[in-house]
């Protein structure tokens, strides 16, 4: 089991040293492994401020961890040689949230596709490069003749995002980090984009880390899900277990808040609105304690470790302390594997 991308005990603190009053712990003691030989889709779910985007940036080497390390094929991203770095930049691709911001408005959309082709010398000839680009566009459901030669403003948001998926695909990466790839796209196009991600995973063996705030789409495409709350893992494991039978009070709250598109009204808009104003939790105790309906004194004193409640799930909550505790660095042990 060779690890493709591995995060070990990664923390990221912004502003000041750790434990300093002015600092913000964006991510704390996070570990995750993406296997090289078994393509998987892992969803990282959390609200704004949960640290999910920080995590994505750390995994891409765009941020330096305050402590811990992120390594690719055994090499620490921060100390790897420039040849390794080049191959990392080719093997690990990213799809960002905003398909409006990633384009230079003065260039035709072809630019984002031809640049990687020439930079990584993907094709021997111009025609060969063109053929590669056309294949990639068709794979995401775009017609090359309707897409190439246009300026970004001439394409819809969904089309632009699909061009970004095509760009990622072009490089035949081994891993794609997709940070909210569909949150700015119309609902009718979300399914198409998520479908092509899933297809890339199944047919081309590309692993995907899907970062989102939307548990419903996470449930749709991923095998495993990691729920983050204020920089810490609340619950992680097999997506069926976490979504269908959530154990952490925060996951339960998240799932109860999803407005489901069905005839069944599961949402009660008749309740009294809960307070959204949150005191800073400080750095001791469970990060969710201030909002948790089941919080007790121990929750406010020390953050709970992970407890392995099921074979494929771990929950960071004292409500489940009868289950065996799991070291944070071993969180990925509970992640399930398709056909494994």
């Amino acid at each position: 089991m060779a690890a493709l991308l591995e995060a070990r005990r990664v923390s990221k603190v912004f502003g000041g040293r750790m434990f300093a009053r002015s600092s913000t712990v964006a991510l704390e003691d996070f570990s995750l492994t993406v296997e090289g030989d078994r393509p998987s889709i892992t969803a990282v779910v959390g609200e704004s401020g949960s640290g999910k985007t920080t995590l994505g940036r750390l995994l891409l080497g765009l941020l330096t961890p305050t402590s811990g390390q992120v390594s690719y094929a055994g090499q620490d991203l921060q100390t790897m040689s420039s040849t390794d770095w080049t191959s990392f930049r080719r093997d690990v691709q990213v799809i960002f949230q905003d398909p409006y911001e990633v384009y230079n408005p003065f260039y035709r959309v072809d630019h984002v596709l031809t640049t990687p082709v020439s930079k990584f010398k993907l094709a021997a000839s111009k025609a060969g490069g063109r053929a590669l680009i056309e294949d990639a566009l068709e794979a995401v459901g775009l017609r090359p003749e309707e897409t190439l030669g246009r300026f970004p403003h001439q394409l819809s948001g969904g089309q632009r995002q699909r061009v970004m998926v095509a760009r990622a695909l072009l490089l035949r990466p081994r891993l794609i980090v997709a940070d909210e790839p569909v949150s700015m796209v119309d609902a009718s196009l979300r399914a198409t984009i998520l479908g092509s991600l899933r297809k890339m995973n199944e047919e081309l063996g590309i692993s995907i880390i899907y970062i989102t705030h939307d548990l419903a789409t996470a449930y749709q495409i991923s095998d495993n899900v990691v729920v983050l709350y204020r920089g810490a893992v609340a619950e992680a494991g097999d997506v069926e277990l976490v979504v269908k039978h959530p154990r952490h009070p925060y996951t339960q709250l998240l799932i109860a808040s999803i407005p489901l598109a069905s005839t069944e009204r599961t949402w009660t808009t008749d309740g009294v609105a809960a307070s959204a104003g949150l005191p800073d939790p400080g750095r001791s105790g469970c990060t969710f304690a201030a909002r948790c309906p089941s919080a007790t004194a121990p929750c406010r004193q020390a953050a709970p470790p992970l407890f392995q409640t099921d074979r494929h799930r771990a929950v960071s909550c004292y409500l489940h302390q009868s289950a065996p505790p799991l070291d944070g660095a071993e969180m990925d042990k509970v992640l399930s594997h398709r056909g494994g």
Binding site: S48, T192, Y219, Q220, P259, A261, T269
Partner: protein, 306 residues
């Protein structure tokens, strides 16, 4: 409603007729560019050039808004129809305290009140949207996204409007906060006895919130039905496909997008605008535009196949 551009005039919304019942929550859904926001702006007469309203009437009780002068219309806005625009939390003035922003709206609409009354009124308004009185003295940057959005709702309801139009009011918020904001909106609507038009493309939010739903496609209303019917047994093929694209927590791994793209408003297909994407299209759909008619009691749609 047409936009006059150098490339020619474009019809952004055509022949849309809607009746909003008192106390009702009506949804307006559609892809981007379907004309839903245009509709809302037209109702408020807030279309800016090169856009122009070419015809039609908007009745509020027995007042035709299209016949009002600009000044009269300005008084109607907020006082009788309030808008919570998309991303409205970013529309707060960053250098004014929340209470001054609320007071501004009251004063502008001729509600002259003493300072003490004003403070009381601001406190009541904040309380009705679930915010602490202390929020009155805060600047927008001191509040979270959900709190800012609720402050905007407070401004919107400050003159007890008959109609509240919310255009994707929660699109930038997290699910938990979104639910709180929608609960707030539901509560103030009930308290005021107002009607709400909720515009958006989040079908989940719409399913959970509205009573009736209008679905727009290429500037026209293609279906208008009770929301339960829309999700249980949609009439129009477009609605059916739209509902089928939604992720659910029951079915896993089925990805069903709508093939094709929405048409360009400048080059609408002949006949039914949806026919190039419709799996059931017949010859008639290519030539003749379907009429919007009542297919079931209370459920309207524009499709030849019904």
């Amino acid at each position: 409603m047409r936009y006059h551009t150098r490339a020619g005039a474009v019809t952004a919304a055509a022949d849309v007729s809607l009746e909003l019942i008192a106390d009702e929550r009506l949804g307006l859904a559609g892809e981007s560019g379907s004309g839903k926001s245009t509709m809302v702006l037209a109702i408020l007469r807030m279309i800016k050039p090169p856009g122009r309203i070419e015809g039609g009437a908007v009745w509020l009780d027995d007042l035709d808004l299209m016949t009002l002068s600009e000044e009269q219309m300005r008084q109607v806005r907020l006082a009788r129809i309030a808008l919570i625009p998309q991303g409205s939390m970013n529309s707060l003035n960053p250098v004014m305290r929340i209470k001054d922003q609320i007071a501004d709206a009251l004063r502008d609409h001729g509600v002259v009140v003493s300072r003490r009354h004003l403070e009381e009124r601001v406190r009541d308004l904040l309380q009705s949207v679930g915010l602490a009185p202390g929020v009155a003295d805060k600047f927008p940057h001191e509040l979270s996204g959900g709190m800012k959005q609720r402050a905007c709702i407070a401004i919107a309801i400050s003159l007890r409007p008959r109609v509240i139009i919310a255009d994707e009011p929660t699109s930038a918020l997290d699910v938990v906060v979104q639910k709180q904001v929608m609960e707030t909106l539901a509560r103030v609507q009930r308290d005021l006895g107002a009607s709400v038009i909720l515009v958006g493309h989040d079908m989940g939010l719409i399913a959970q919130f509205v009573d009736r739903l209008g679905v727009m496609y290429a500037g026209k209303l293609v279906e208008l039905s009770p929301v339960r019917d829309i999700f249980a047994d949609p009439l129009h093929p477009y609605t059916r496909m739209l509902v089928a694209t939604l992720p659910s927590l029951e079915r896993k791994g089925v990805f069903q997008g709508i093939p094709g793209l929405p048409p360009l408003l400048g080059a609408l297909p002949s006949g039914c605008a949806f026919h190039p994407r419709c799996p059931h299209a017949v010859d008639r759909c290519r030539t003749e535009e379907p009429r919007f008619r009542e297919a079931r009691p209370g459920a309207w749609a524009a499709c030849h196949l019904l």
